[in-house]
């Protein structure tokens, strides 16, 4: 008889999280938790509140009800800059800053007065399959390369968890495959906790261990990704 798996620490827990703007409910009563090393997919039709929920998780928007606990601390008690470093967000469009790839990777640590070493930059770039890209101007990158730089830039902040907002939805098939592979490699190698918003059910099954399905801002299904998304 095999021993039961040892439960890992809860990294992120939401309690009745909600946001209503001008009488429009974007997210309603969302309660779930995420343990260390888990990958959670949030899926649902367009306008179901997936991105709104993700933005609440790192407090880019303010909840109008409920809250989020990060390692058991109510995130309203965490300084916003520190919270956002801990919960690293990768957006749908990469929004790289003008300059080189290395400049972009140095941005996050520089906000805390730290300097990212050349070795650190090369290590991050090889994790996302962009070895020797550090001196390249970001203006000359393809969509897939830019999104992988965006992922490496977020990882440069050594986040507790990654929040990925439709990271491949603006890419063609080849670039989508590159970015997805980079995400898989990072999650597998580092055991990173991750929340990925995607409307692509197959991608959610490939990447995530658990899944939530949203509809009109409410969680309608939750559980193991294979079961929830195959239903």
């Amino acid at each position: 008889m095999s021993a039961p798996p040892i439960p890992t620490a809860v990294i992120l827990r939401t309690e009745h999280l909600g946001r209503t703007v001008k009488d429009k409910t974007l997210v309603q009563d969302a309660s779930f938790e995420l343990r260390k090393g888990e990958v959670l997919a949030i899926t649902g039709p367009s306008g179901s509140g997936k991105t709104s929920l993700l933005r609440l998780l790192n407090r880019l928007d303010e909840p109008t009800s409920g809250t989020v606990y990060v390692e058991d601390v109510d995130y309203r008690n965490i300084e916003p800059r520190e919270l956002r470093r801990k919960l690293g967000l990768v957006t749908q469009r990469p929004f790289l800053f003008p300059g080189t790839v290395a400049d972009n990777l140095r941005f996050g640590p520089a906000q805390r007065g730290q300097t990212l070493s050349s070795e650190g930059i090369e290590q991050l770039l090889s994790q996302v399959g962009l070895k020797d890209y550090s001196g390249r101007d970001v203006a000359n990158l393809s969509g897939g390369e830019a999104q992988r730089v965006s992922l490496a830039r977020t990882l440069a902040n050594s986040p507790l968890a990654l929040l990925l907002d439709e990271p491949t939805s603006a890419l063609d098939e080849a670039a989508k495959h590159e970015v997805e592979s980079a995400i898989q490699k990072v999650v597998r190698d580092q055991g990173l906790t991750c929340v990925i918003v995607t409307h692509d059910v197959q991608q959610a099954i490939r990447l995530a261990s658990r899944a939530l399905v949203l509809d009109q801002g409410r969680i309608t299904r939750a559980g193991q990704a294979g079961e929830v998304l195959s239903a």
Binding site: V21, N58, R59, L60, D61, E62, R76, P80, R81, E82, R84, R85, G88, L89, T91, R93, F95, F97, F107, G108, Q111, R112, R153, T154, N157
Partner: protein
């Protein structure tokens, strides 16, 4: 030609105003052809401007006999009105009126106070109010340009700003490039006015001084003095307003409040 038909000064003035308004309305029609609708805003602005200037002209006649300190009250009223007018260019930014009023009060007010105390501006109501109003009006325009550009840049770059926030940047520093750009853009008219002085345009103040008997060289030098004061007042106003407004687009939890479609 108009003076062939109108013999009283009031009738002539109204006819001249009508012709000038028609020229402005031609622009409105041209803009309409391009799908830009300025009709209502322009019409209201013209009628309002005409009524206001006639009212102020009438008040100035009364003020000519008033004590000098009353000019301080008039200028303060102008600053409040200028703040309200230019704050409209910052739709959606909380506190825009307060920021504008403080910026214009500091920018134009400090230049007026300094120049009056040094004797560059005469304290007589007939000098202080017209010159003070020129500084306030130009500070208002510069402030409106700065706020309008800042608002447009923040809306156009909300993705970049939120990316910086998400990477742990301080809210105020995440909008620094747009603060800088709006400050620089707002000063373009003032710099161009100084640069083209005497070549592209001969301002009304100089023409008026010469008509009332001042020596042309003194009138020219004083016109430069006024434009340099306008530049200083406008620059200080823009500096203060862009410094104050940068924090107003964020919530206390460093969330970007000004976003497209909100």
């Amino acid at each position: 030609m108009l003076n062939w038909f109108f013999h009283s000064q009031l009738q002539l003035g109204l006819a001249q105003a009508l012709v000038a308004a028609l020229a402005a309305l031609t622009l409105v029609l041209l803009a309409r052809g391009r799908g830009i609708h300025l009709e209502v805003e322009t019409l209201i602005a013209m009628v309002r401007g005409l009524v206001q200037i006639i009212a102020v002209g009438s008040i100035l006649v009364i003020l000519l006999r008033a004590p000098r300190w009353t000019s301080g009250i008039v200028l303060a009223g102008m600053i409040v009105a200028a703040g309200a007018t230019s704050a409209r260019r910052a739709k959606g930014i909380p506190d825009a009126f307060r920021v504008s009023a403080w910026a214009i009060a500091f920018g134009a007010g400090s230049v007026i106070a300094l120049m009056t105390s040094l004797g560059v501006i005469d304290t007589a109501i007939t000098t202080l109010i017209p010159i003070g109003s020129m500084l306030i009006a130009n500070a208002m325009n510069t402030n409106g340009l700065a706020l309008n550009r800042f608002r447009a840049d923040v809306l156009a770059h909300s993705g970049e700003i939120e990316t910086a926030l998400a990477l742990g940047a301080e809210a105020r520093s995440s909008v620094s490039p747009y603060v800088q750009a709006s400050f620089e853009a707002s000063l373009i008219p003032a710099i161009d006015s100084l640069r083209s002085l005497g070549i592209v345009w001969i301002p009304g103040l100089m023409a008026g001084m010469m008509l009332s008997g001042a020596r042309p060289v003194y009138a020219a030098i004083y016109q430069f003095v006024v434009l340099a004061m306008i530049f200083a007042a406008s620059g200080l106003t823009s500096l203060v307003s862009t410094t104050l407004i940068r924090g107003r687009v964020f919530s206390p939890a460093e969330q970007l409040l000004l976003q497209p479609g909100r």
